[in-house]
Symmetry: none
Subunit: 127 residues, 4 copies
């Protein structure tokens, strides 16, 4: 699950970790109520300073993606679909349009963008 953690990437470790979990929640790879690995266990697996995992979990808690129960662990929250599906779809389309505009401004065409999308999303593009 944490294959893509790259210590040399410019984006901080804790953000990479949080992003991966956020994605897992959004993609429903993990269910509400599931427990996340303990800070020490995850830190060990990722060969990362425990403080880094702590910061990732704190970020997630701030976002409402997880809740921490002292002495018990960290658990996936029930994500309230506070926004109507329609609204989320429109937001998604807005993001995509923004992507295309940014690319165009930089002189990157649709073809290259499509290639990059396949590179990054792979099969998940066909979901």
């Amino acid at each position: 699950m944490f294959d893509d953690i790259d210590p040399r990437s410019p984006t901080p470790l804790y953000e990479q970790i949080a992003a991966r979990i956020r994605l897992a929640v959004a993609a429903e790879e993990v269910e509400p109520g599931d427990s996340l690995p303990s800070v020490r266990k995850l830190a060990g697996e990722l060969r990362v300073n425990p403080a880094t995992v702590v910061q990732a979990y704190r970020d997630l808690e701030d976002d409402g993606f997880v809740t921490t129960k002292r002495g018990a662990g960290t658990f996936v929250s029930r994500v309230e679909p506070e926004k109507r599906e329609e609204e989320r779809e429109s937001q998604a389309r807005a993001l995509v349009r923004e992507l295309i505009a940014d690319a165009a401004r930089l002189g990157i065409g649709i073809t290259e963008l499509a290639q990059a999308l396949r590179d990054e999303l792979g099969d998940r593009l066909d979901d």
Copy 2:
């Protein structure tokens, strides 16, 4: 050409500057042999410290995108087409990664994103 330089972005100024020029070379907006603005001139335009521009130019020289002739200035190098293409692809991937991160932050999963992509790009996704 340097509209996007944002001092508050987490990615360093010199990297933003270098990235912009790298892409200009990759997209052949500038030709081999063209001279880049002088360090001081560009620094003035961008309201940035000259040393920051120096670092950007240094990175570009390390990558082989420009050559600097001492006492004369900094010039666009001849760059292999494959390398140009690679650069365009890499920047495209960066944009896509940003898209995914933004989406995740809004609670939008890959599935919804993929749908939006198909909505906006349609067939061109298969180029």
Copy 3:
């Protein structure tokens, strides 16, 4: 280890520092995983600005001789034996080039230099 750093040399301080460390790695004076002195500590020892050491470390990281872990420090990387050998050879060539230049400046031609080399090195020249 850093005796040779000479602020009056025409070659920049950061290059001298980087070269010295590069060679220490190449000669296995330091082992992969060893930590380098912190930027501030080394800067203090060498009576040099921290930014100068930062630039040296940055060069070394670009070359792949060291890895820096954010917030943790800078560490010696595992380096391929061929690369180590190459580095040693390149520094040896630099020394030789210096020798030739010094000789020429004293009006000593290649012929006389070759004779002196045979005198001093003898058979070992054919190793």
Copy 4:
């Protein structure tokens, strides 16, 4: 004769040019009284700023390797062998010993040094 001029080397162009001519004089590739190429001609050949050649010639004149006659050109001087041959030989040996010491201090052995010498001097080692 000027194959090794490298605009990207850290040693200045004018020094590279001067060094090459100094060597030619020392190796008696050119005879006293021979004329050097005109500043403009040489600058053209080397694709270098004429001012660079001027500075090289001025350096050489300071050293006494050449003399410039206004309107006529630049000529190789008769190099006075002011020092006895023996003294020159001893100087050469001193340089070589210095080389070996420097190398040892950096952890570079005789073998690597010998290889570098062959790389840089090639056939001329057998003169």
